[in-house]
Amino acid sequence: MSELKKTPLYQEHLRLGAKMVPFAGYEMPVQYIGLKEEHLNVRNHVGLFDVSHMGEIRVQGPHSLETLQWLTTNDVTKLQKGEAQYSLLPNNNGGLVDDIIIYCVEPHQNYLVCVNASNKDKDFAWMKDNNKNAILTDESDLWGQIAIQGPKALALLEQLLDFKISSIPPFKWTFILWNQTELMVATTGYTGEKGAEIFVPKEAAVSLWKALLDQGQEFGVLPIGLGARDTLRLEMKYSLYGHEIDENINPYAAGLGWVIKPSQKDFIGKSEMLKQKEAGLPFSLVGFKLLEKGIPRQGYTLFSFDNQEMGKVTSGTLSPSTQDPIGLGYVWPQYAQIGSEIYVDIRGRKTKAVVVPTPFVRPT
C-alpha cells in the first residue's frame, strides 16, 4: 500500500514538468502548465490524458455474458462486437460498487471491463465473489491507457493512425495496428468532447504518447492533468465515484436510470434498488450555479429556501469555460426542477444558488 505505483508514462510526466500527486495508489500528474489553460485547450483544441491508472478486467468464456448480466445494471445482450457500454456494478443494498465501461471483443466470449483506479481491487474481488463461472483476469498491469479529447482529437488520430476514426460512431471501438502494436481505439471519453480512449500494451505506451504529442503540435495539443480532467467532467455532469455515486447512493437518485434495465434482466441487488425507488427516493442530483460570490466545494451543505438542510455538494468548482461557480449536489426532489432557488453553506455563509440545466457547457 505504502509504495505508490507509477504508470508507464511516469518519466514522460516528469520530463514535461508535471506536478505529481498521489491518486488512487498512483503517482499521477495533477497539472502541467495550469489547470485552466489545460481545460480550455481541451475545449478549444485537443488534449492528451494519461489514464493508465484505470483498471482493466477481462471477462471470458461461455459464461461471460451470463456473469456480466448478473454483475451489471445495463443490458449486456445488446452489446455487439466492437461496441462499448456505460454501466454500473450494483451492490446488495441499492448502492454501487463502481461505474464501468464494458467493451465487447466477442459476444458471449470475451469482454474487457474498464473500472475506476480507486476501486479496481475492490471490483475484482467483488466480481470474483459473484462470478457465474466466467474466467476473470485482472489485466490492469498489462495496459497503458491514453485519452485524446477535444475538437481536433479525431484529426490528430486520423493523421497518426492512418485510419478514418471519424467514421466510428461514439461508444464503439476497433483494433488498429500502429507500429506493429495492436491498439484498442474506442470513441469514448470523460470530457464531453469528441475523441478517443486508446488501450495500448504498456510497452508501447511511451512511444504512442510521444508520437501523439509530436504530431499533435500542429493541432495545438497539450498534456492534461487530473485537475482539468475533473473540471471537464464536472462541466458535463458526469458522475465521479466517491462524489456523485458511492456504496450508499441509489443510482436512480444520481440520474443514472438510463443505464439500469430491470425489466430486461435480473442483477445483484435489483429488488432492493427498485424497492427504494418505488418508495420514493429522498434526494435528486442537480447541477446548480451560485448567484453570489464564492465557490461550492464537495461536502458543503445545501439548504432549502426555508433554511432546512437537504443534502451535500458532491463536486464544485469555478467553471473554467464559463467562469461561473458551479456545483453538483443532492437536494429534495421538489427542489430538483430548473430554476429552484437553494442555499449553499459556504463556511457559515448561506450563499444563494439556482438549479440550472446540465451539462453546464455544450461542446460543439
Binding site: 489547470l35 465557490i295 468548482t317 469555478l318 473554467p320
Partner: protein
C-alpha cells in the same frame, strides 16, 4: 525551482509572509504558497476594522481546485484591505510578495513576532515540503 524568500520578512508555517513596519504588519502569501495552490480564482478577506488573532483564520483563498484558509501572523486590527484582489485574484499568482499583499494589520503586541519564522527556517520548511 527556488522560491524567493526575502530576509527582512517574517513567515508562518502556513506560508504567509509578514512585513513589519513599527506596529503595522503587511501580510501576504509566499511564492511557495501560490505555486502549491495553482491558479487563484477567488479571495475572501476581512473588512477594515476586523479583529484578527495570531494563527487563526482571517480569510480564504481559492484556486480552481481547492479552498485554503489564510492564517494571521499576528493579533490585531485590520486597517487596510487590498480590495483589488477581489476582482483580480490572479495578482496572487503573478506577484504574491508585492502587488498581491492581502491586508495591513495594526498589531497588538510585538511579542508575538517571536512565534514566527525568519527566512532561514522558512527556507528549510519549504525544502522539506518539496
Amino acid at each position: 525551482m527556488g522560491f524567493i524568500v526575502p530576509e527582512d520578512l517574517y513567515y508562518t508555517k502556513d506560508h504567509e509572509w509578514a512585513q513589519v513596519d513599527e506596529n503595522i504588519v503587511t501580510v501576504g502569501i509566499t511564492e511557495f504558497a501560490q505555486d502549491s495552490l495553482g491558479e487563484v480564482v477567488y479571495v475572501e478577506l476581512p473588512e477594515e476594522g476586523a479583529k484578527v488573532t495570531q494563527n487563526e483564520s482571517f480569510g480564504v483563498i481559492e484556486s480552481v481546485k481547492a479552498a485554503s484558509d489564510l492564517y494571521s501572523p499576528v493579533s490585531g486590527t485590520v486597517i487596510e484591505v487590498n480590495n483589488v484582489l477581489m476582482d483580480n485574484p490572479s495578482i496572487l499568482n503573478d506577484d504574491p510578495m508585492n502587488e498581491g499583499w492581502l491586508v495591513r494589520i495594526e498589531m497588538d503586541t510585538e511579542k508575538e513576532l517571536a512565534n514566527l519564522m525568519r527566512a532561514p527556517d522558512y527556507k528549510k520548511l519549504i525544502n522539506e515540503a518539496k
